[in-house]
């Protein structure tokens, strides 16, 4: 008899969640917009593990895992959903999940969740989660009736470097808001703590974005440092080489999507060799057909390559259309890593910085540690002499130019991950590229490196102060002045004049 009873209870327990979920789903489906919001808030206040599945599918606009997409969500509902979901997750056994939930609630917890948080905070065993919950709680306790509670909360907030904490604490400074003198002073001290933390975050952020911009400039300019810096070809079609690289990335992405959807995660890696090959191929073709006839006449190369760039742009426009094409970041390149509460470093940019440095290193090795590099340097320094020594100048020129363009292609792959991919992509980088090469000193790879990062950081330091436009103008003015002092650029060889 008790056995049966147990069974019955057991069945009930097993069956209950489904009952609950089903009914919730119906409630939600039948509710009006406002009722839905209310419903979600209730769920957030009294979580129930059984709703996990339902909330999950609601986020995708379905009433159940296998239901069709019928719900129309808006940001308000999405926010509440996330919130409800977080509080459900607090019940999870996995400390990691609980931690994320707690961190979410730090920012978004509603007063109605106060009780819930208090319970979990008390019950929580895991250190990290406990602390996180403490902060989340503190945010709500700032308006608690009991001054001592508020005081504790204020002190606790001092620990966090969360930008939200600053605004919350600032609010407490007015006597009108916070009656208790002690709490106010505590708020002041905590505020100072928080602001110190935030300042560090901001400075790091600026430095990083400077480096990131620098790496972009470097990738854009590196190829030019060879075609222009070494071969002396004023390659106005350089930007279009970047563009070709970006479009090859797009092509690879399409192909992978179609034939190997599994490998989509890694299409940028596949794109690298392709982009290099495409750009280098086009580059060599141009070198053989056009530029070969123009060595020693740099200014003519300017005009010819200008014509080439016009043709390439229009060709791409006719093939792929004038609109931008979609190049999606794969999972490992999207999102970012939260270093500090107010500092997120996007993966794509981190990777690009590394990539830029690698490419620069490889180029340097190629030019200084290989036979080809030796030949290139020989030919670029004294064509006739090299020819006499049996260096096949023609082939070397072709390979060198191809190399330059190929590197530009690699740059294009990187650019496609952070910017737009359209026919005019190259145009927006060409001037900066030339400035980098000239500033670094023509023919000086190391110079280009320093110039690129220098410009990037300078730009990013100026931008917050005087805005993007004035910043750029000021940079240009500085470059012009700088060239006055060092007409051959940062790393000019002694006594050698390039013109």
């Amino acid at each position: 008899m008790p056995k049966a009873l147990h069974r019955l209870l057991l069945c009930l327990c097993l069956w209950l969640p489904f009952a609950a979920q089903a009914s919730d789903a119906q409630d939600f489906a039948s509710a009006s917009a406002n009722d839905r919001a209310r419903l979600l808030q209730e769920w957030a206040a009294q979580p129930d593990p059984a709703r996990l599945g339902l909330l999950g599918s609601l986020q995708q606009g379905r009433l159940g895992p296998d239901q069709p997409r019928t719900l129309r969500l808006n940001n308000r509902l999405r926010g509440l959903l996330d919130n409800a979901l977080a509080s459900q997750r607090l019940l999870s056994d996995d400390a990691q999940v609980r931690l994320q939930a707690a961190q979410h609630l730090q920012r978004r917890a509603q007063p109605t969740q106060l009780g819930l948080l208090e319970r979990h905070h008390a019950a929580e065993t895991d250190q990290a989660v406990h602390a996180a919950l403490g902060l989340a709680l503190a945010n709500l306790q700032l308006v608690a009736a009991e001054p001592s509670v508020r005081l504790a909360a204020v002190r606790l907030l001092g620990e966090s470097g969360d930008p939200l904490a600053r605004t919350r604490l600032q609010a407490l400074l007015e006597p009108a808001v916070e009656s208790d003198e002690g709490v106010r002073t505590a708020a002041r001290t905590s505020l100072d703590q928080v602001e110190r933390k935030l300042l560090i975050g901001e400075l790091l952020g600026q430095a990083f974005s400077g480096l990131s911009l620098g790496s972009v400039l470097l990738l854009a300019a590196l190829g030019l440092a060879i075609t222009f810096g070494l071969l002396g070809v004023i390659n106005m079609a350089h930007g279009e080489m970047l563009m070709l690289g970006a479009y090859s990335t797009y092509g690879v992405q399409i192909l992978v999507q179609r034939y190997a959807p599994g490998a989509l995660e890694f299409y940028p890696l596949l794109a690298l060799p392709v982009a290099f090959a495409v750009s280098a191929g086009v580059g060599m073709l141009l070198e053989r057909t056009v530029i070969r006839h123009l060595y020693g006449r740099p200014l003519e190369t300017l005009l010819a390559t200008w014509g080439i760039s016009l043709i390439l742009i229009q060709a791409v426009r006719l093939i792929f259309g004038a609109q931008n094409v979609e190049v999606a970041n794969p999972g490992w390149l999207s999102g970012g890593v939260q270093v500090l509460p107010n500092l997120v470093l996007p993966w794509s940019r981190i990777v690009i910085i590394g990539f830029a440095l690698c490419v620069a290193l490889l180029t340097w090795l190629l030019l200084n540690r290989t036979r080809l590099g030796l030949n290139v340097r020989a030919v670029t320094q004294n064509r006739n002499m090299a020819a006499c020594c049996g260096v096949p100048t023609g082939r070397v020129d072709m390979l060198a130019f191809g190399l330059g363009c190929g590197i530009a292609g690699l740059g294009g792959v990187a650019l496609s991950q952070i910017g737009n991919v359209g026919p005019d992509l190259g145009q927006s980088y060409i001037i900066d590229s030339f400035l980098v090469v000239v500033l670094g000193g023509v023919g000086q790879l190391a110079g280009s490196l320093w110039a690129a990062f220098g410009l990037g950081v300078a730009n990013k330091l100026l931008e917050p102060q005087i805005g993007a436009v004035l910043g750029k103008i000021l940079i240009l003015a500085l470059i012009i002045l700088f060239i006055q002092k060092r007409p051959q650029g940062l790393f000019a060889l002694k006594g050698r004049v390039i013109d």
């Binding site: 600053r166 952020g205 931008n324 979609e326 999207s334 939260q338």
Partner: protein, 421 residues
């Protein structure tokens, strides 16, 4: 010897020039329709599809027998995103090709560049893009939105409960007259709603700005101060880096929604929208609208793109300016039919109050006096498939207010079109 060669060269150049001037002289039983959209240069990204949709509409009208028994003959020119060239080409269309009407321009500057030409030669221009207002020419019909048909409802929505009840506004735009004027109007409007200046941040970036790290960081900082929304008038190309930066720095629509006025289906084609779900755009038309007229419009367009083998035809989308071009051309055809002629003055008269059942699902009417179309306002949410999902819309089309009441000095502006305003 030398003499001959010199003369040869001279005559050659002369003949080329002559050819250029007499190129498009053709049979006269047709009505010539000028299409003045950049097919090269920076604006080609937006304008090429308008050229194509115009050609499609002309085909459709011709298929129905044309206007007044005459077929329409498109004259396509490429002003190459070069503003002086717009004026030159405009003059050429009106004086050399003697077109009855011109559909064209995207940027305000191109419109301002051709405006004097059209007023001088009494031409007729249909301008299909949302713009800053502050203009009302008898020679132009504006089928795009005026600020009160796009910006203000959008901000009202952002402040509403469903919109997330934003209390702080980050006005981000490319530095040209449309964002400037729009933001000026918005600021005045927000003041009227009791939003203080410290809760409004106004930031401008140069054209083709590609590095939004600092700005997104600032948005984050600003948003810590309370419920924030971004109102973006960032222009075409810069949107991709902007949205990518938003996504990668983890700024979600649930925390800081971005309301864009210049981002439509075409622009989204260049972006992976999965991380952007929930960000907003305000237009008077979306491709995703579910009504028979629109279904036909979209189907026709996709078919046309395939048939003509346009690049990226498989992903062809429609957007607001395309709809505006489509509507504008039909309105003009109806008016010309009604007037029984293509004479500009007659057509202008006939156009007043002319109405057309538009893909937006409403019957749009050309205002009797101010040359602007009455348009419904819709707020769309970006979906992960690159389309918009309409989350809010007006019950009826709104009348345009080209002279915004929020800009001082506009009270005494005339409410009907006069030259040289």
């Amino acid at each position: 010897m030398k003499r001959r060669s010199l003369i040869k060269a001279f005559t050659l150049s002369a003949s080329i020039a002559a050819l250029g001037l007499t190129w498009t002289v053709q049979a006269a039983e047709t009505i010539k329709v000028g299409i003045l959209h950049s097919l090269s240069g920076t604006m080609a990204i937006s304008e090429t599809s308008l050229k194509d949709v115009a050609l499609m509409t002309i085909d459709q009208i011709n298929a129905k027998g044309g206007v007044n028994g005459k077929l329409l003959e498109p004259v396509v020119v490429d002003p190459a995103s070069n503003w002086p060239l717009f004026a030159e080409k405009g003059r050429q269309l009106l004086t050399q090709d003697k077109v009855a009407v011109v559909f064209g321009c995207w940027t305000s500057v191109s419109r301002k560049s051709v405006l004097p030409v059209f007023e001088e030669l009494n031409g007729l221009l249909f301008y299909p893009v949302q713009y800053e207002g502050e203009e009302m020419s008898p020679n132009v019909f504006y089928t795009g939105a005026a600020p009160n048909q796009q910006a203000i409802p959008a901000v009202e929505y952002l402040m509403s409960e469903d919109g997330g009840g934003a209390r702080r506004f980050f006005l981000l735009g490319t530095d040209y007259v449309y964002p400037r004027t729009t933001n000026k109007i918005l600021r005045a409007f927000l003041h009227s709603k009791g939003v203080a200046d410290k809760d409004i941040e106004e930031v401008y970036t140069p054209f083709g700005h590609a590095d939004y790290q600092t700005i997104v960081a600032n948005i984050k900082k600003f948003s810590a101060g309370g419920k924030t929304a971004v109102v973006s008038t960032v222009n075409g190309d810069s949107n991709v880096p902007f949205y990518k930066e938003l996504a990668n720095q983890g700024l979600k629509a649930t925390e800081v929604p971005v309301m864009a006025f210049s981002v439509g289906e075409e622009e989204l084609r260049g972006i992976d929208t999965k991380p952007l779900v929930g960000h907003l755009a305000a237009w008077n038309y979306f491709e995703s609208l579910d009504n028979p007229v629109n279904q036909k419009f979209v189907a026709d367009w996709k078919a046309y793109a395939k048939a003509k083998g346009l690049p990226g035809a498989d992903k062809a989308v429609t957007n607001d300016p395309m709809e505006a071009t489509y509507v504008g051309m039909h309105l003009w055809a109806q008016a010309a039919q009604k007037a029984g002629s293509t004479d500009v003055d007659k057509v202008r008269e006939a156009l007043a109050g002319q109405s057309f059942e538009a893909p937006s699902g409403f019957t749009l009417t050309m205002d009797k006096t101010n040359h602007h179309l009455h348009k419904p306002v819709m707020i769309g949410e970006i979906q992960d498939d690159g389309q918009f999902d309409v989350v809010w819309q007006t019950e009826a089309p709104l009348r345009a207010q080209p002279w915004s009441p929020f800009i001082p000095g506009n009270e005494q502006r005339p409410q009907h079109a006069v030259k040289g305003q």
